[in-house]
């Protein structure tokens, strides 16, 4: 999975900035995508490209349970969010709804990967290759059930053992 990085070097990116409350009434995915990250970065919609990744700090997606948040990012073209940690409902929604991949990274990757870097995420070896800087970082492997749900293509396709 190859793509370019959009970096927000801060913690606690919350669902109110990912998709502000005034859009909760919207359930058209393409329309939600137009307003993704509006509370933090009004230029996001014009700069994001299909296959991009977001890189951010701790507690990404904290706040409300609105599934609008992973939906708006996914339908903007974001394939994965790489963060130091994730808030629980955002994480669950991303995985169970088969939207973007929430990937936990370490401080090394967080500090080193810059806006615009091209990276390649290898889920088999749990490695992130920075093609721009020619460096490799580890990602935290998905836990057992999360890995299985992702592999199945979401909670509805997952068959419990």
């Amino acid at each position: 999975m190859k793509g370019n990085v959009i970096k927000y070097a801060r913690d606690n990116i919350d669902t109110d900035v990912i998709i502000p409350g005034q859009y909760l009434k919207v359930h058209d995915y393409a329309e939600l995508a137009k307003h993704a990250m509006e509370g933090l970065d009004p230029d996001f919609h014009s700069k994001v490209k299909e296959g991009d990744f977001i890189l951010s700090g701790r507690n990404f997606g904290c706040g409300s349970s609105r599934e609008h948040a992973p939906i708006a990012l996914t339908h903007s073209g974001i394939k994965a969010v790489l963060a130091l940690s994730f808030a629980r409902i955002f994480y669950r929604n991303a995985v169970d709804g088969a939207f973007l991949l929430p990937i936990e990274i370490d401080q090394d990757a967080y500090s080193d990967i810059a806006e615009g870097d091209q990276i390649d995420i290898d889920l088999k070896s749990n490695q992130i290759n920075n093609l721009t800087k020619n460096k490799t970082y580890k990602m935290k492997p998905f836990s057992d059930i999360i890995g299985k749900i992702i592999e199945a293509g979401g909670l509805f396709k997952y068959k419990p053992d």
């Binding site: 409350g21 009434k25 409300s64 599934e67 909670l155």
Partner: protein, 423 residues
Amino acid sequence: MNITEKILARASGRQRVAPDDVIFANVDKVMVHDVSGPGVIKVFDKLKKQGINVDKLWDPTKVWVAEDHFVPSADKMSAENVIKLSNFTKNYGIEKHFKYGMGQYGICHTLSHEEALVLPGEVYVGGDSHTNTTGALGSFACGLGHTDVAYVLLNGKIWFKVPHTLYFKLNGKLPEHVMAKDFILKIIGDISTEGGAYKTMQFGGSGISEMSVESRLTMCNMTTEAGAKNGIVEPDQKVVDYLTSRGAKNITLVHGDTDAEYEKIYEYEGSEMEPLVAKPFSPENIAIVREAPSVELDKSYIGSCTGAKYEDLEAAAKILKGRTVKIRTEILPASISIYKRAMENGLLKIFLDAGATVGPPTCGACCGAHMGVLAKDEICISTTNRNFPGRMGHVDSQTYLSSPLVAAASAVTGKITDPRDLK
């Protein structure tokens, strides 16, 4: 096992569970509202296209529906969402639908306790992050997204990783000018907005036993702001009386074992607690009210599942009685049942005499959607639960979170004010 583990063990048909076990828990109650409901309908539409049968719910009698975020409807799209929700409940035979303008309705979390919809020991999930609120009744109450709620509606169960538990012990009563809101803000300030992530936050000790059920609801409500999976208080006679007076029957209390284990125990002395605010732009950004910045406020907001229960309104009325507000002050009881009690007991007259406006129950302004959003650079003191950028309106507006006592005292002075300092 502690209380959360015992509830999850029973719900997953196991003798024992331990933190980090992955289980499928049978769900006792599930809630959707006018944001998550249309979200679930969208998931159902997708499933239909994939050939998955969505003709019947697992058990419509265990489902209840609230209209709270987009009532009264401010625009056509909101109104259409409410109609979608009505069609959904009609098509699937859900009878417990609390409709705006038709008797009892209100914020979903408030209905959960006002209407005794959830009982101690139950597994309750809802399509809203503040579902945690209801753990104050001694239930496992947890917020989920649209896909997960859709899964529960069709299958009656959902996966959980059994959480680790943080135990917060309050020794002794809170002083008269300090509310549960102050205590939960103190905790969030101490552990951070990530400090409870994926965990249970359990509250106990003599100070919690002394607390009313409504105060415990405030505590559990804001465990969400610390990232917790659930908040919980061991149920006691107060909970039984509270629910029984609202028509509940067959209440069975679940308690943790005497050798229950907790990841960490935090202790607080009630007598040391002070009125606090959370400054913009995070619930963890705590200041003592007497040391808070001297900003000119534009608005005081007393509303939401966090800060507009009956005792919250009583606290505001104690301050506003015989006084006049200096800034725009909006008071929105969290449900019609609370609104009626506030009317019958003279609280609404106190509010109106003070110059405040009283509005209908809604989540609208709390989440910056409608019914009183903040303009650029406006500053609000609010009894709600979040103050992220843009939460209550313009991204350059600011919200200070506080107790109803502090919000009311600040309404009188126009500055952030400790209720003890009012003349």
